[in-house]
């Protein structure tokens, strides 16, 4: 049986369409599988103790041994403090730099450097940010190299370009007529920037900050270098060794204890949930902004 050219082309086309459809199945399978296992294993120890108790003694059940489940309150606190500090460092600087480049720079050449540097910084691998903070703090004070503070500095380096970029884009969406109206009313330039333009750009800025926080919360590589290991006991000051959810997953994955692994899955589930909530929240903020822009 022979096919003419047109039939061959048609069936080749059908075949390729089926292949693209298959590729989406192949792509989705491991991703759905990851979510499924995380939800299943993390969910099996998802209870109140998780949020009230500290890390338990390492233990694997069997031969009549029962293990204490324990909880991950220390990693949770650690992540909150780390991300909070990193936001404290990066958000004001990012917003300030964005205001300088958009509100004062305009079309001028120097104003473009902020965007360029943000582009370059956003390509810095997280492990290099960690090595940088290590190299910097060891010059300053070796005693605080392994601490919550140094970990949060590395996270701030990773958040800074995201916040700066998002702020620049948000400020650019505020129409120029709004600024001119404010100047016409005799409002000074800085008050226009802070009380009118910045407020108008707030949804975009909040979205950027939420996405930056989501990125920082899941980051583990620089914390491997910088946190020390403060997971075993309750957290001390920010100049002492710290802990985070991501660091705890690393400990659970690289140690052979069953109850630690269970808590690591719980930490993974919690991290994924946190990031899910932050993404949904940022989408809601953007939608609200879009509706307001349409004049609703």
């Amino acid at each position: 049986m022979t096919f003419d050219r047109a039939t061959r082309r048609k069936w080749f086309s059908h075949g390729m369409v089926v292949l693209t459809g298959l590729s989406i199945v192949v792509v989705a399978t491991p991703l759905v599988w990851i979510i499924y296992e995380t939800a299943l294993l993390g969910g099996s120890v998802f209870n109140v103790a998780l949020f009230t108790q500290g890390i338990p003694y390492p233990c694997t059940p069997g031969n009549g041994i029962t293990c204490h489940q324990g909880g991950i309150v220390v990693p949770i606190e650690g992540t909150l403090i780390l991300v909070g500090l990193a936001a404290l460092f990066s958000v004001p600087i990012g917003i300030g730099a964005a205001i300088a480049s958009v509100e004062y720079g305009g079309q001028r050449r120097w104003a473009r450097i902020t965007g360029l540097v943000a582009d370059v910084l956003s390509g810095v691998p997280s492990i290099v940010a960690g090595a940088f903070v290590y190299a910097l703090l060891i010059l300053y004070d070796p005693a605080i190299v392994f601490s919550t503070l140094s970990g949060s500095l590395a996270l701030a380096v990773l958040m800074l370009p995201i916040v700066t970029r998002a702020c620049e884009e948000a400020l650019r969406t505020v129409p120029h007529s709004v600024r001119e109206a404010a100047y016409a009313l005799g409002i000074s330039r800085w008050k226009t920037s802070v009380r009118i333009v910045l407020v108008g750009a707030l949804p975009g800025i909040v979205t950027g900050i939420l996405l930056a926080i989501a990125r920082a919360a899941g980051e583990a590589a620089p914390l491997l270098i910088l946190l020390g290991n403060g997971c075993a006991h309750s957290l001390q000051g920010i100049q002492d060794e710290g802990c985070s959810l991501s660091y705890w997953i690393w400990l659970g994955a690289t140690n052979p204890y069953q109850n630690w692994a269970n808590l690591a899955w719980a930490a993974a589930l919690l991290l994924v949930l946190i990031i899910l909530v932050l993404s949904v929240a940022s989408r809601l903020v953007l939608d609200r902004m879009a509706r307001r822009m349409r004049g609703g």
Partner: protein
């Protein structure tokens, strides 16, 4: 008010001041300080890493870049064993993620029913945000055993003659780490390709259809060439991410510092070598070597990322020009 003059001069307080107010000066100083800080972070990052790696730069020179041994106990540092791991795993990741990610993007934009596009698109964007440590943990617990027991013996039996799959399949090796990286790179490649393909004007497709092209010929000859630079930008950005990735790789590659030739060899990447090296540094020379490895990784990823951004910018300005 003087009735003869309906337009009295404004009172003193309302005149626009020529001299900026105190608040303006302070605010300007603050935002300029913020700009200098952003630029300063970038500059300090490079300077501090250079200064921190001065011992190895001075004592080893270029041999750091082509040395084949990394042995902190004897203070011998050559980065090739790590570079080898980074390049092999990233190559595997691209080899798998480009066709699959692009195929998924084509299906989503061209052939998928409308009700499927939105949810799947959002799922993919969410997956790009899952932390790499979670991918690594999952890979270590669930994927490594599958590799060890099924995939790798299968490949060894049927493709062993290629020489790529020699040695004992332990499961923690270049192949596994590369596959995990490809799983992580797919959402980036799919999302950016999808945006590029969605930006192709309708007329481009309609012209091809009117000439009697089949579905695939429309995609292959009318859509993909138009979206090419956007797709390439997405791929290079995915590559940049794969090169710098640490956690997913460090848990699945086996962490040995020898140069591997088979895909079943365990090894180490630059990022993983840095992360693990800081746990027990043997001395100042070791720390210096780790920081220099960081510089090398920084140089590679920056070159890749700036390349990707140049391509994407050209794509954006090209799309803007096409719309006019």
């Amino acid at each position: 008010m003087n009735p003869d003059n309906p337009f009295p001069a404004p009172s003193k307080g309302a005149t626009p001041r020529k001299v900026p107010r105190f608040g303006d000066w302070t605010f300007l100083a603050l935002v300029i300080a913020a700009t200098l800080l952003v630029v300063g972070v970038m500059v300090t990052l490079v300077v501090v890493l250079l200064y921190g790696s001065r011992f190895t730069i001075q004592s080893l020179g270029f041999s750091f870049l082509y040395g084949t041994t990394w042995n902190p106990n004897n203070n011998v540092y050559g980065i090739l064993p790590f570079l080898d791991g980074t390049l092999i795993t990233s190559a595997i990741a691209l080899f798998l993620a480009v066709p699959l990610g692009l195929g998924a993007a084509i299906f989503l934009t061209q052939h998928a029913p409308g009700w499927l596009r939105g949810p799947v698109g959002q799922l993919i964007e969410l997956l790009a945000a899952i932390p790499s440590i979670v991918y690594g943990f999952w890979g270590l617990i669930f994927f490594v055993p599958i590799e060890r027991n099924y995939t790798e013996p299968f490949l060894k039996t049927w493709l062993g003659w290629t020489g790529l799959f020699g040695g004992t399949p332990f499961g923690v090796d270049f192949l596994t780490a590369g596959i995990i990286l490809s799983i992580m790179a797919v959402p980036t490649i799919t999302a950016l390709s999808r945006d590029a393909i969605a930006a192709v004007p309708r007329a481009q497709k309609e012209a091809a259809i009117s000439l009697g092209a089949t579905d695939w010929e429309v995609t292959r000859r009318a859509v993909l060439p138009y979206a090419r630079s956007g797709i390439v930008g997405g791929i290079v950005l995915g590559l940049g991410r794969a090169l710098g990735e640490t956690m997913a790789v460090v848990l699945t590659i086996g962490n040995t510092d020898k140069i591997g030739t088979s895909l079943f060899d365990s090894g180490e990447t630059v990022s993983g070598g840095i992360a693990l090296g800081f746990f027990e540094p043997t001395g100042p020379l070791n720390i210096s070597a780790l920081l220099e490895a960081g510089l090398v990784l920084l140089a590679i990823t920056l070159a890749i990322n700036l390349g990707a951004r140049t391509i994407l910018h050209r794509f954006q300005s090209g799309a803007a020009a096409g719309a006019e």
